[in-house]
C-alpha cells in the first residue's frame, strides 16, 4: 500500500466511524419502531426480526400524536417564515448600510445566541402566563422567533456581504431602488444563505423541547413533547416512542433534502471577474 492509498484508507475509516456514530442512533430508532415488544427488550439485541407496523398503527390512531405533529408543523413553519421575512431585510440593512449603532445591533443579534435557554425559561413562563398566552401556538412562535431571527440575520448578512458591491451599483444605475435591489438582486442571490438559515430555523423550532414542555399543556403540545410524554407511569412503550420519533424526524429530513441543493450551489459564480 503506497502512502496515497494509506491516506485514503485512513480517510475512509474515519468517515465510516463518523457515519456509524451519527447514523446508528437513527438506525436504532427506526429498527426499534419496527420490532414487537419482545424483540425490543431482548438481550442481547435481536438483529434479524420480522418487521411490524403495529406501533405506527397505534400512533396513527392516537389523536394526540397527529395533533402534536400538526402543532409542530404550524409552529415550525410559522417561525421559519417569520424569521426569514423579518431577518432578510434586517440582514440587507446590516450588510449594505452605514448607520449609528450598527455594531451594537449586530452584537445584540449574536449575543442572543450566547444565553442558555434554561436561564430564561421561568421569566418567559411568567410573562406568557400574564399575557394569557400559555398553551398557544403564538407563544412558541414568539419565543422561537427570538432564537431563530439571529440565526437568519447572522447567516444572511454574511451571505449578502459576499455579493459584489458593483452589482448593487449597476442596479442603482439601472434605476433600481433599495426595495428593487433587495427583492430582485439580493434575495435571489442570497438564496443559499436564506435556505441554510431557514433549515436551521425549522429544525430548531421542530426539535425544541424545553420551552415547549414549559409553555404548553394540551392544546399546543408539539411532537417532541408528545414523544417524551409516554415516558411516564409504570410502562415504557419503547415501540411507540421510537415510532413517534421516526415520524417526527421525517419532515425535517425531507425539508433538508429539498433545500440542500441551494446550500451547495454557488449562485454568484461567474458574475464578476
Amino acid at each position: 500500500m503506497n502512502p496515497r492509498q494509506l491516506r485514503r484508507a485512513v480517510h475512509l475509516l474515519f468517515l465510516a466511524a463518523f457515519l456509524l456514530f451519527t447514523l446508528f442512533p437513527f438506525f436504532w430508532m427506526v429498527a426499534s419502531s419496527l420490532k414487537d415488544q419482545t424483540d425490543l427488550l431482548a438481550s442481547p439485541p435481536v438483529w434479524a426480526f420480522t418487521p411490524t407496523f403495529v406501533h405506527y398503527a397505534e400512533i396513527w390512531q392516537d389523536d394526540e400524536v397527529s395533533g402534536a405533529i400538526i402543532n409542530s408543523l404550524i409552529v415550525a413553519s410559522s417561525t421559519t417564515l417569520l424569521a426569514v421575512l423579518l431577518g432578510t431585510p434586517a440582514a440587507y440593512s446590516l450588510a449594505r448600510f452605514q448607520f449609528r449603532g450598527k455594531k451594537d445591533l449586530w452584537f445584540w443579534f449574536i449575543s442572543n445566541r450566547m444565553i442558555s435557554p434554561i436561564v430564561l425559561a421561568l421569566p418567559v413562563y411568567l410573562l406568557a402566563q400574564r399575557a394569557g398566552l400559555l398553551d398557544t401556538h403564538l407563544v412558541l412562535i414568539l419565543i422561537y422567533l427570538s432564537f431563530c431571527l439571529p440565526i437568519v440575520v447572522w447567516i444572511c448578512t454574511d451571505q449578502f456581504r459576499s455579493i459584489p458591491g458593483d452589482i448593487e451599483q449597476a442596479a442603482r444605475l439601472d434605476n433600481a431602488n433599495h426595495w428593487d435591489i433587495f427583492w430582485r438582486i439580493y434575495l435571489p442571490l442570497g438564496l443559499p444563505g436564506i435556505a441554510v438559515s431557514a433549515i436551521f430555523s425549522f429544525i430548531f423550532s421542530w426539535n425544541e423541547l424545553l420551552y415547549a414542555l414549559v409553555l404548553t399543556r394540551s392544546d399546543a403540545r408539539t411532537a417532541p413533547v408528545i414523544a417524551t410524554s409516554y415516558m411516564s407511569g409504570y410502562e415504557l412503550p419503547w415501540g411507540k416512542i421510537m415510532a413517534t420519533g421516526t415520524v417526527i424526524v421525517l419532515p425535517v429530513t425531507f425539508f433538508a433534502l429539498l433545500v440542500s441543493r441551494h446550500m451547495v450551489r454557488g449562485l454568484t459564480m461567474g458574475a464578476s471577474k
Binding site: 442603482r172 433600481a176 442571490l189
Partner: protein, 362 residues
C-alpha cells in the same frame, strides 16, 4: 458644445482627499480617457460622474444641467464596470432588459432594443445564457449591451478591458472604438493602460494623486508633455531621463553638459526662450523610439549595452550611459550586438525634452 463639465470637484473620505479640485470638460460625442497610475483617483472621478459617490465640493453638469444632486439613474449615464457586474441569476436577455424594466419601458420596446444591441454586439445566440456560461469577452460585451439598450447620453467605462487577455483586449479595444463611431455618444473611459488611452481617446486626462496633470489630445501629450510624469507615463517603453547641467543659454539655444553625453555636452534649440541659467540641474528626456545607434543627431549618448530583447519586428536595447543612468532604445528590425559593447545612441535635437528641477517642461 460642452456636454460634460466637471467644475472644481473635490472628494474626501474622512480626512483623506482623493480628488483635490478637478476641473475639465468634454464636448458632445467626444471620447475622453482618464489615465493614471493606481490610486490616482480616476475611478473615483468616474463614480462621481455616475453619481455612485457624492462629491464633497464642486459641481458636475451634464448637457447643461447641474446633476450634482441627481441620483445615478436620472443622470442619463450608463456604466460598464471592470468586474462586468452582471446579474448572475439572470440570463443575457434579462441582464440587458433589467434597466428598461425598471423604467417601465413597454415590453415590445424592450425586446426591440435588446435585439438591436445583441445584433450590434453579436450576442444574438447567447441571449438565453447565464453569465457563468460566457467567456470573459462575451461577459464584457453583455455589460456593454446592458449600457447600450438604455440609450444613455453619456457612457462611462471603468477599466473595462483589464480582466481580459492581451489578444481579446486588442479586439475589444477596436470594438469599443467602432461603437463610439457608430453611436456618436460622449464616452468617458478609465484605464491605467496608456496604449488604450492613446488609441481610443480624442482627449486624454492624465491624473496623479487626485489632480489633473495634463489634458490634451494623444499627440499633444506625446509631443508636448508638461512634466516628467506625463512624459514618462505616455509612450511605451517610457521616456529615458538623464541628469544634465546647463552650460550656457543663448536665447532659444541651450547647451547642456553631462558625463553621459558623448563629448560631454549637447546643444539644443528649443524654439522658444529658455528660462534657465548656467549651472541649473535639469532632466534631459529622450524617447526610446527616437534613439538610433550611431545615427545622425545633435544629442549623442555614450552608452554600454547591457542586453538586447528581440521582439520579432523590433528590438529593445537596454544600455547604461556613461553617467550611470539606464537608457532604453527601441529599434525596428533585429539588432545583433555583444554585451558590454559601446554604443553611441543618437537623437535629433527636436526630439529632446528638457525639464527643470521640479520636473516641469522648459
Amino acid at each position: 458644445m460642452e456636454f460634460l463639465k466637471i467644475d472644481n470637484v473635490v472628494k474626501k473620505y474622512g480626512d483623506a482627499t482623493v480628488i483635490g479640485g478637478v476641473g475639465l470638460t468634454a464636448r458632445e460625442g467626444e471620447f475622453v480617457v482618464f489615465v493614471g497610475p493606481s490610486g490616482c483617483g480616476k475611478s473615483t472621478l468616474l463614480r462621481l460622474i455616475a453619481g455612485l459617490d457624492e462629491v464633497s465640493d464642486g459641481r458636475i453638469h451634464i448637457d447643461g444641467i447641474d446633476v450634482t444632486e441627481v441620483p445615478p439613474a436620472a443622470r442619463g449615464v450608463a456604466m460598464v464596470f471592470q468586474s462586468y457586474a452582471l446579474y448572475p441569476h439572470m440570463n443575457v436577455r434579462q441582464n440587458m432588459s433589467f434597466g428598461l424594466k425598471m423604467l417601465d419601458t413597454p415590453a415590445d420596446e424592450i425586446q426591440r432594443r435588446v435585439a438591436e444591441a445583441a445584433r450590434i454586439l453579436k450576442l444574438e445566440h447567447l441571449l438565453e445564457r447565464r453569465p457563468k456560461e460566457l467567456s470573459g469577452g462575451q461577459r464584457q460585451r453583455v455589460a456593454i449591451g446592458r449600457a447600450i439598450v438604455r440609450k444613455p447620453r453619456l457612457f462611462l467605462f471603468d477599466e473595462p478591458l483589464s480582466n481580459l487577455d492581451a489578444e481579446l483586449r486588442g479586439e475589444m479595444r477596436v470594438e469599443i472604438a467602432r461603437l463610439h463611431q457608430d453611436l456618436g455618444v460622449t464616452m468617458v473611459y478609465v484605464t491605467h493602460d496608456q496604449v488604450e488611452a492613446m488609441t481610443l481617446a480624442d482627449r486624454i486626462v492624465v491624473l496623479r494623486g487626485g489632480h489633473v496633470e495634463q489634458i490634451g489630445t494623444p499627440a499633444e501629450l506625446y509631443d508636448h508633455p508638461v512634466n516628467t510624469f506625463v512624459a514618462g507615463f505616455i509612450g511605451s517603453p517610457k521616456m529615458n531621463f538623464l541628469s544634465v547641467t546647463v552650460a550656457s543659454v543663448e536665447g532659444t539655444v541651450v547647451r547642456v553638459a553631462s558625463p553621459s553625453l558623448a563629448g560631454g555636452s549637447a546643444t539644443l534649440d528649443l524654439a522658444h526662450p529658455v528660462v534657465a541659467r548656467s549651472g541649473d540641474a535639469l532632466s534631459l528626456g529622450l524617447r526610446p523610439e527616437h534613439l538610433v545607434p550611431d545615427g545622425p543627431g545633435a544629442v549623442r549618448l555614450a552608452t554600454v549595452l547591457d542586453y538586447v530583447e528581440n521582439l520579432g519586428g523590433q528590438s529593445l536595447l537596454y544600455t547604461r550611459a556613461a553617467g550611470g543612468e539606464a537608457a532604453i532604445c527601441l529599434l525596428q528590425g533585429r539588432h545583433q550586438a555583444a554585451r558590454h559593447e559601446a554604443i553611441a545612441l543618437c537623437a535629433d535635437a527636436a526630439h529632446a525634452y528638457l525639464f527643470d528641477g521640479d520636473g516641469h517642461a522648459l
